[in-house]
Amino acid sequence: MTRSFLPITTIAIFILFLWYCLSIVLNSSWAYDRAARNSQTLTFKELVHDTWSQKKPKLPAPHQVFSEMWETTFNKKVTSKRSLVYHTWITLSGTIAGFLFGTILGIVLALAIVHDRATDLSIMPWIITSQAIPILALAPMIIVVLGSMGFTGLLPKAVISMYLSFFPIVVGMVKGLRSPEILEIDQMKTWSATKTQILWYLRIPRSIPYLFTSLKLGIAASLVGAIVGELPSGAISGLGARMLAGSYYGQTIKIWSALFAAAILAATLVTLIGLIQKIISKRMMLQV
């Protein structure tokens, strides 16, 4: 932690610097145009000041984004449509629901695949095909179909989220459940263990490290799914909806703050799973 502090800070400062420079460059034409309309000329100082404080900049400056995030996080009621916490919560609930469905589906499929060779051969190609279809094409259809059945809001989002997240879980769990060595399987055979006993006593414990790696990928995919699910639905809440609304009205500061909220959410969720992994691995005496 302390060892990585310096390099990470260095990179962060570098990115901030680059970002400030870019926002001067990208927002300057608008500043110059306005000055020309008012028959003014801009000093460099005035230019910088203008480009870092426009209301609808092409690229908002970092402090604009962070003050917007601060404002919409701490100075709004969390139940308000203008609160970032509210929108984050909406997206989070879709993410978690989709992640839970995806994890269950992924584990069930992996068990079926490992248990039975025929299932492996018949299901696996479909699973791989499913991930070849771009989610952006599929998402509106899922929303329309579920909407026509009367399902709106959380469920369609969760379904899209599940669609993205079950895949890393299946792949990781199949690998994990097949990770016991031949010696370990032979040993089980010498005890005449049933398939179910081999699964329960050997395959499942051995798959735990693989499961956690998959869960980290899965939760990130779930979040993407939930946001994508908020884009085409005409939804008015959620980080995805906020990004879309921001882009309709050219409110770039809003888009960026939603983007950062999503990134922070993703990092938090992945870290959380990492923590649970550490605790369980320590208890199970497995190397992380």
């Binding site: 032979d186 055979k189 010498t190 414990p205 199970m284 005496m285």
Partner: protein
């Protein structure tokens, strides 16, 4: 009804057909092992010792020949839990304590809770590991881990114990100690033991019968019935009968090589 012949193999052959070659792992192997014997299989690596043990255990099927284990086919014997198998590596589960590792086959075989606990105590004391129940495998030395593995193989009271170079990875001092222990354990439990080893002194010290094998194709060169007494202090290794048997084993191994 228990048969006097615990294991009887008649003209066993096993060929491994792999993509690029055919290996005659065993050719025309016949042997009779009586109840209560301690049989060592010795020979250079690749002569089919492991393969023969695996055939007894129903982990491989012979291509030709017939084999009976306690009057049954190997598969029936495996299902009847007629043998305990000790592999070269201890194969303990790192997430289970020592007691829980010994408990594993008992849980699989659905013994009652009370009986499981009683048996764990009994077999751990057989290998002199009482008091280590709550430890995890990584807290034990290699020799102790292998003893846990033996305890586990003993826990369900199989009549036969199959051991594939169980002490191969251990140093000589630990090995001497474990040999002594194993002999005591055999006298106490009266099991039939099939023991694979690379070491001539180990084979002679432990066995009532020594099977000398040679590779390509794997076959039996000599079967030596040892006349050493059942009670064997370590010093017996310096006596004349011991040295004579060791010489005969060495000769057999040499003869096997000259066939190449």
């Amino acid at each position: 009804m228990p048969s006097e012949n615990m294991i009887s193999a008649k003209s066993i052959s096993l060929r491994f057909d792999t993509e690029d070659s055919v290996v005659n792992a065993l050719q025309n192997v016949s042997i009779n092992i009586s109840r209560g014997e301690f049989v060592s299989f010795i020979g250079p690596s690749g002569c089919g010792k492991t393969t023969f043990l695996r055939i007894i255990a129903d982990l491989e099927r012979p291509t030709e020949g017939e084999i009976e284990v306690n009057g049954m086919t190997p598969e029936e014997a495996r299902r009847a839990r007629a043998y305990g198998y000790v592999f070269q590596a201890p194969g303990l589960y790192p997430w289970r304590t020592i007691a829980a590792n010994v408990r594993l086959p008992l849980e699989i075989m659905k013994y009652s809770k009370a009986e499981i606990n009683e048996r764990i105590q009994r077999v751990l004391s057989l290998v002199e590991l009482n008091g280590f129940e709550k430890k995890f495998p990584w807290q034990l030395s290699g020799g102790m881990q292998q003893r846990v593995s033996i305890a586990r193989a003993l826990s369900f009271d199989a009549d036969i114990l199959l051991m594939d170079e169980p002490f191969g990875a251990l140093d000589e001092i630990v090995r001497d100690h474990l040999n002594l222990q194993l002999l005591k354990l055999w006298l106490k439990t009266n099991k039939t033991i099939c023991f694979v080893t690379h070491s001539i002194p180990e084979a002679v010290y432990l066995s009532t019968k020594i099977v000398v094998m040679s590779p390509r194709p794997g076959r039996i060169i000599d079967v030596i019935d040892s006349a050493l007494p059942k009670q064997r202090p370590l010093e017996i290794r310096d006596t004349k009968p011991f040295i004579e048997i060791a010489q005969r084993v060495r000769e057999g191994l040499r003869k096997g090589q000259s066939y190449d």
